[in-house]
Amino acid sequence: MNFTKEFIQKYTVFIILIVLFVIFSIASPTFMQVNNLMNLLVQSTILGIVGFGLAMIMIAGEIDMAFAGVIPFEGAIFATLLTNGRPFWVAALATLAIGLLVSYVISLLVTRLKLVSFVSTIAMMFLLQGIWYAYTGGKNIFLEGYFNRDMVFGLVGAVPRVVILFAVIFIILYFLTEQTPFGLRLRIVGEDPESARTMGLNPIVYKTAGFLIGGAIFALGAFLSTARMSGALATAGANMLMPVMTAAFVGQTVLGMGRPNIPGVLLAALLLGMINNAFVLLRLPFWSVPIAEGLILIIAIYLANINKRDVVQISM
């Protein structure tokens, strides 16, 4: 009995993933084709990478909603620089620099002015959306002819490059967060800043590092989403806000950890990507996707909390 509960609690997301995978592969003949599986992975990539960025900040005990504002803004900067004939590396570095700058400002608000990150990053999101409008005049900027999509989506064997990038980033971040002193300290600062201080760790340093790493990853996400759409679209951020939050929160339930973690985000992103993909293949109505996502979020959190209600709590 106890064993079952513990098992369910640890492997909820795995179980949902596998069950849905089996159902989808029976229900749709095309689902299991290599092409489609690769497509599914590509669909999970941007969600997963941006989710990694958010998880890094959540591990440090903060949250950052500003990515929904910073990603379209960075995309617009990247696209205009390319369309104005600047070299790729200039556009890429500018995107990264803006990402780091925004995250640094957020970290100052949170660590120095002691503002609550939830509210101050929502404020930052609106601020950046406003700047985006002022900068672009509300128009999408298309990259047709300025950018070769193969650079990102070209195949290496059967695997798209972006999927390899996803795997590499996952491995780096997994080791960084779970196997290095830095990752352990980041987590301590997030969980118990008071004890961290008495143990000689400076929470400000680690929280700032968390925001900056997150910001760099968001910049990568902005680049990928611009590449995917072949342009900087107004909707790039807002469409991403809730799925990324969902991935980060469902990710907390993986392995009964009850804390933000990188493998959890990977699984959750695959799960959400798969639902999107399969529902289209099965020709289910478009409104069924958000309904399924909402249900999965509730089920995952409920199952992960069985028997351990006061230990594993999903926290902001």
């Binding site: 290095t180 961290a196 143990m199 000689g200 760790l201």
Partner: protein
């Protein structure tokens, strides 16, 4: 040439330390010197300045002026990390372990063993943790266990293993036995004595007499932010020590006692739970009973049990003749009990609401027409009367509670309960953060309540205040009532002695 022997064997010296906080001089010219290999007891009552002094040493606060010399080196300004690097380690009362991490991780946080590519070497970490624990004689602990699954005593051992593994030259422990049983405390003492023999200097902060005489070589006493005395333990008998700690002032009993105690309002017997080990109380009509004891003695816990906030393991509670079976705060209030909690800012007061809203909160029904619509006119007149009666200093009754002074906030909480028909009042530390004038008014009010036939339980860690105000006092130590005293026949020293776990023979 003559050498000064004391200078060479001093490892840490803090001289003329001054620290001011807005409106308070927390430390006035305090000295503390620690010799190599000694156990030095730092004692004083709450607010004496012990923790401020240690927070300066640890690097969390910066001193306004003074001189700190460590190992012959003058220090200017330092961070907590630097102090640890220089070999000064702290174990705080709340231990400060990261609850979800394992024993091994906690022991190695901040100095994790790494392999050549920078990843944590978990095997080295585990083996090192086993060794660190073995060094203090702990061999029965799985280092993979998350610390939140350990008892407090085991956690304490982990905290000690952690700091000793960093090879400190000075170790500071803040009231380390406050949450330990006798056996575990004994084990801790042995470890400390053992470390002392190996040359470690220990600063031991406590207000437990038995620990001071059991362990320490020298004692430094602080009171009201001033250095009172620093002496060898052998030259300072317990009676002297207590006098130094509490000061010499004579308790002024300004409130006469009146007796109309035939009726029991609150009856508590055999109460257990939440760290309280057997609590008995009979509170009569027109009686002010004091519940005294040091911080952590279990006073607030007892009050929370009596009011039904925390679940009771065992015990019987009767309020105004009603037995509390299903004990919740709602039942307690309807049976006629009122509680002014310790932390009035968070538990007793809605800071963003007006005085009048706060006052009428608990007795809302009284002010409502058909139990539904608030009767603003009635509300206003009653609030006005209370504000005047309690002398709450405020421009308007619509002023937000946040903008009032501590004393006035406390009075608003009192006014709230006066609006109800309560017969039994529990006051948990009502005078903390209140100025002298405000305190006097609160004392006055307690007695007005009791004159009207209410029973008042007055919880305070200020022993002088308790003896001054109450008709009868109970002294708690480690979750138990250890003495019942009549303020007219006792004195501050005797009461303080009980509160520190001493017995009266030690006074003579």
């Amino acid at each position: 040439m003559l050498k000064e022997p004391e200078v060479t064997d001093l490892i840490l010296e803090m001289k003329s330390i001054i620290k001011n906080f807005p409106g308070v001089q927390a430390l006035q010219d305090v000295d503390l010197s620690i010799k190599k290999g000694e156990i030095h007891a730092l004692v004083g009552q709450n607010g004496a300045g012990k923790s401020t002094l240690l927070k300066i040493l640890s690097g969390f606060y910066h001193m306004d002026s003074g001189k700190v010399t460590l190992n012959g080196k003058d220090l200017r300004r330092w961070t907590p990390q630097q102090m640890i690097d220089w070999g000064v380690s702290f174990i705080y009362q709340e231990l400060n372990l990261v609850q979800s991490l394992s024993v091994a991780q906690n022991i190695y946080i901040g100095r994790e063993p790494k392999n050549p590519i920078g990843l944590i070497n978990w095997n080295t970490m585990r083996a090192g943790a086993v060794e660190a624990l073995a060094r203090i004689g702990v061999t029965d602990l799985d280092v993979n266990t998350p610390v939140n699954q350990l008892t407090v005593a085991k956690q304490q051992l982990v905290a000690i293993a952690r700091v000793l593994d960093m090879d400190p030259t000075v170790l500071i422990l803040d009231e380390p036995t406050s949450r330990l049983g006798l056996e575990d405390a004994e084990r801790l003492f042995e470890i400390l004595k053992d470390m002392q023999e190996k040359g470690l200097s220990i600063i031991y902060v406590t207000h437990r007499l038995s620990n001071i005489y059991r362990l320490s070589d020298r004692i430094t006493v602080l009171r009201d932010g001033k250095l009172i005395i620093s002496a060898d333990t052998n030259d300072l008998p317990a009676s002297e020590l207590v006098k130094h700690m509490v000061g010499q002032e004579v308790v002024d009993r300004s409130y006469g006692s009146k007796k109309d105690t035939e009726k029991v309002l609150l009856q508590v017997s055999g109460l257990f739970g939440n760290g309280v080990n057997g609590f008995d109380l009979q509170l009569h009509t027109s009686e002010v009973v004091g519940l005294l004891g040091a911080v952590g003695a279990g006073k607030t816990e007892s009050v929370r049990l009596i009011f039904g906030i925390d679940p009771i393991d065992e015990g019987y509670i009767q309020v105004c003749g009603t037995e509390m079976e299903n004990h919740t705060p709602t039942n307690a209030i309807s049976a006629g009990m009122a509680l002014c909690p310790e932390d009035r800012k968070y538990q007793g007061l809605l800071l963003e609401n007006s005085i009048s809203e706060n006052v009428t909160l608990a007795g809302l029904k009284k002010f409502a027409t058909w139990n539904l619509f608030p009767n603003k006119k009635k509300e206003k007149s009653i609030v006005f009367e209370l504000v005047n009666r309690l002398r709450i200093t405020t421009p308007k009754i619509s002023t937000h509670a946040r903008s009032l002074s501590g004393g006035n906030q406390q009075k608003v909480v009192l006014a709230k309960w006066l609006c109800t028909d309560s017969k039994v009042f529990l006051f948990d530390e009502p005078t903390i953060g209140v100025d002298v004038q405000g305190k006097a008014e609160i004392y006055q009010l307690l007695h007005e309540l009791s004159d009207q036939g209410a029973g008042v339980l007055f919880v305070t860690s200020d022993i002088e205040e308790g003896l001054q105000v109450c008709d009868r006092v109970l002294v708690m130590f480690k979750g138990q009532i250890v003495a019942e005293l009549d303020p007219r026949e006792t004195n501050k020293e005797e009461a303080s002695l009980y509160a520190m776990g001493g017995s009266p023979d030690e006074l003579h």
